[in-house]
Amino acid sequence: MSQISISINGRKYQADEGETVLQVAQREDIYIPALCYHCDLLPHESCRLCMVEIEGEGKLKASCTLKAFDGLRVLTDSELVNRVLAVNLELLFAQHEGKCEACARKDSCKLRQAVIKFSNKEKFVADKYSDRKKDKLKYQFGPSIMFDPAKCINCENCATMCAKQTKGGFIRPRESKYNFEVSPSLANDHDCIYCGQCIVHCPTGALSEVEDYPEVQKLLKDSTKKVVFQFAPAIRSSIGELFGLPPGEIATGKIFSSLKRIGAYKVFDTSFGADVTIMEESEELINKIVSGENEVMFSSCCPAWVKYLEFYEKGFVKYLTSVRSPHIILGGLIKTHWAKHNNINPKDIVVVSIMPCTAKKFEAKRRELRVNGFNPVDIVITNREFAKLLKEANINLADVEPSESNDDIMGSFTGAGEIFGASGGVLEAAIRTAYFKTTGKSLEHFEFKAIHELNGIKELELKVNNQKLRFAAVSGIENVKIVLDKLKSDPTYYSCVEVMACPGGCVAGGGQPLPIDDEIRKMRSKGLYKADRENRYRESHANPDVVELYKGFFESDRMRHRICHTKFAAKNKGVIKRIK
């Protein structure tokens, strides 16, 4: 690749052929308020806040599409740039309800960031125009996602992403007399899968999770309740970002400590549940292969993916494994096995899952997952909500001394469970255990580098007992569509497919700290693989507490089945609420 040199604000910078001026500026930490730009999407060029001046021409160009060429000279801070950007920012801010202090996205809002940067410039007046959207009602999609049109700046990023994540797009621009408004489709053949990718790509607070953490705060103060937390594998390598730590830094020990400090009765690592999921899933996979039933098996850990099949691809539902997702299994165990062991009335237990995900809020409410009349998980909060929970209790996670799980029956967890958060992790963990179960020995190499990469479709071929088997790990529904097309003509093409609805897997889930880009996805995944390497147990079946569980409580097939398995079925459109 040939190197070129461009000048930004009079300083020289190296650029690669094909790079845009915005990419160079972002790498060099030169601020350009590119609101609608997201590296996952083709530049839409709609916000017009990334304009730069071509030196000597007195003309502005959008830096998100302006390709760097040798000798190019641009200004990002000239008088002309500032005058034009001030107007555009005033216009955008006037169609945005600026209730920043109460906004769920306060700290990840690119519009607010831009307004703060511009507020010291003489030309800029934040409230020059009347707010044209202030009377809009909010929408709530299922129990997961909040959409506030009053904060929408019409960039369409959510709609573009939603079209990739669903069929035809659930949130989309709807035309009205003068303008279009982004709004959810009311048609019966479009629904939200609750993946939260709209939130990840929304530059403002128009899209956010339904916040449940205030409920958790209330319950923590309720002396009649025992609040038991569990946290997903994927949050340990990203939560630190909201406290100034670099992406990928593993914070498992700090999570245990800080949850105890806010008054958790008990803290579990969902990785334990992941180990149980793997025990069950590997069994199902082996049975399938041994019995010669060669049709594919899909993972079901991702509730957005499950919803996608149940709503958009009903014919494929039958291929989903019947195994429940890790936090549901762990929740079920907490309210039965663990409660009994500790002599606690399950009625007094509130299980709170900290998840990288907005769809988990939906999953936890599924009635078919109940165990003995209880929801295995009572409340799901996202990783972002978790950070708020800590901050509002004046706890800085970065400063907290790490500690360990101290539970005597479900306290240990394996590296296999920890990698569940990365695309390919579930598949790798399943293969480790399935290999052991069929051959009686451990794999020589635990890691399959091919599925550690960031690609949306990762394939793996393995020879087990002279049988050649094909596997795939897929992330992003857009990629899922390609794989499903393949399976439509041949359902035996793959033996097992792991699917995560969010591009890159749970490390980049809809409930994760923002911003998210490919570099951050890579760093968060790497963190999980490092945690795996540093864990003394790397196979789910080697987890000593899991071994005990199967020797004891799970001796009863009925109990094991009730806690670990379910049935999935076609679903109709979910609830869309309008809120004042």
Partner: protein, 326 residues
């Protein structure tokens, strides 16, 4: 025999949609793609959404055969090609049937435009035909490289095909159709040489007003305002003249008409055009036209709008304010 593209080049034909791009250059660019064995789409743009422009309709009514012949010339020129005639819904409802009977047996399809003014932009038009939102696209790639369904596409105005037919028959006399309308005159189309000054056009058509007047040239939305003393020139833009009686025209009402038009007919994709057009309309509706503020909006639109519609939106306002309101 001289090749048709060379003939077009020699005739110096410029696109009749308003932008005045050299037609031969477009055809050559598409030819280059055809030589690589690609399928070619030929589009006739009959969206004619600009107020005060009605010459495409005139052609559809008076010269449908000649127009279709022009399309056929393109179909012959580009080996593996197919044509789409894109008509605004009124024209479609009135003329498509008759055109289809003329073009029977040729790969010519008809598309009914239901979208806004902006869908007259060649890339927005392509998006609309593809069933997508009628937003202009990022150029490059130009339609000649990657247009309809990703294939090289030749987009020309209806009149351009008509003139191509004349060129092929050696009947082209360097003329263009002027749409003339306005206060006190009959709305009519005139076929005059392209190098006529506006004064000549008005005088020779018998439309030079007796009372004090000003005109809008280049379309009833996008055109600029000119005073009588400025008309000894050939002007750029669509050949459309709208005459306003200076004493009887309320310039604020006129601006409000433009503002309504733009607020409704733009694609709403980019901030300055979407929000700017709204705010101008708001000010005019509420009778508090703030010149300083409008000036800022114009600068942002001119400098940062995504497409020519937004970049050019200030022209009528600015010229009206400068010359008529003062």
């Amino acid at each position: 025999m001289v090749n048709i593209i060379e003939k077009i080049e020699q005739a110096g034909l410029r696109g009749r949609g308003g932008a005045g791009f050299p037609t031969a250059t477009k055809w050559q660019a598409v030819k280059k793609q055809e030589l690589q064995g690609k399928k070619i789409y030929i589009i006739a743009n009959g969206s004619e959404g600009e107020p005060g422009v009605f010459k495409d309709e005139y052609i559809l009514k008076k010269y449908p055969t000649e127009f279709i012949e022009g399309i056929k010339i393109a179909l012959v020129e580009f080996a593996d090609s197919e044509a789409v005639i894109y008509l605004n819904h009124t024209y479609y409802d009135w003329y498509a049937k008759r055109l289809a009977s003329i073009s029977k047996g040729f790969p010519i399809n008809y598309f009914r435009k239901t979208a806004r003014y902006i869908a007259g932009d060649e890339t927005a038009l392509i998006s609309h035909i593809e069933g997508k939102r009628d937003e202009p696209r990022i150029k490059p790639p130009y339609p000649a490289e990657s247009g309809l369904h990703g294939m090289p596409t030749l987009v020309n105005n209806i009149e351009t095909y008509y003139r191509v037919f004349q060129i092929a028959k050696d009947q082209y006399q360097n003329k263009t159709f002027y749409s003339i309308s306005g206060s006190g005159i009959k709305k009519q189309v005139y076929d005059f040489p392209v190098d006529y000054t506006i004064k000549e056009v008005l005088v020779k058509s018998g439309n030079w007003p007796k009372d004090d007047f000003f005109i809008q040239y280049g379309g009833g939305a996008a055109g600029s305002i000119y005073l009588p003393e400025e008309l000894d020139n050939v002007l750029p833009g669509a050949a459309s003249i709208i005459i306003f009686n200076r004493n009887k025209t309320n310039p604020y009402k006129l601006m409000r008409y433009w503002a309504e038009f733009y607020a409704k007919e733009n694609c709403d994709k980019c901030t300055p055009c979407r929000e700017g057009s709204m705010r101008i309309l708001e000010m005019l509706k509420e009778d508090r036209f703030d010149r300083e503020r409008v000036k800022e909006l114009f600068l942002a639109m001119e400098q940062s709008s995504f497409c020519p519609l937004g970049r050019g939106m200030s022209a009528p306002y600015k010229s009206l304010i400068e010359k008529v309101i003062r």
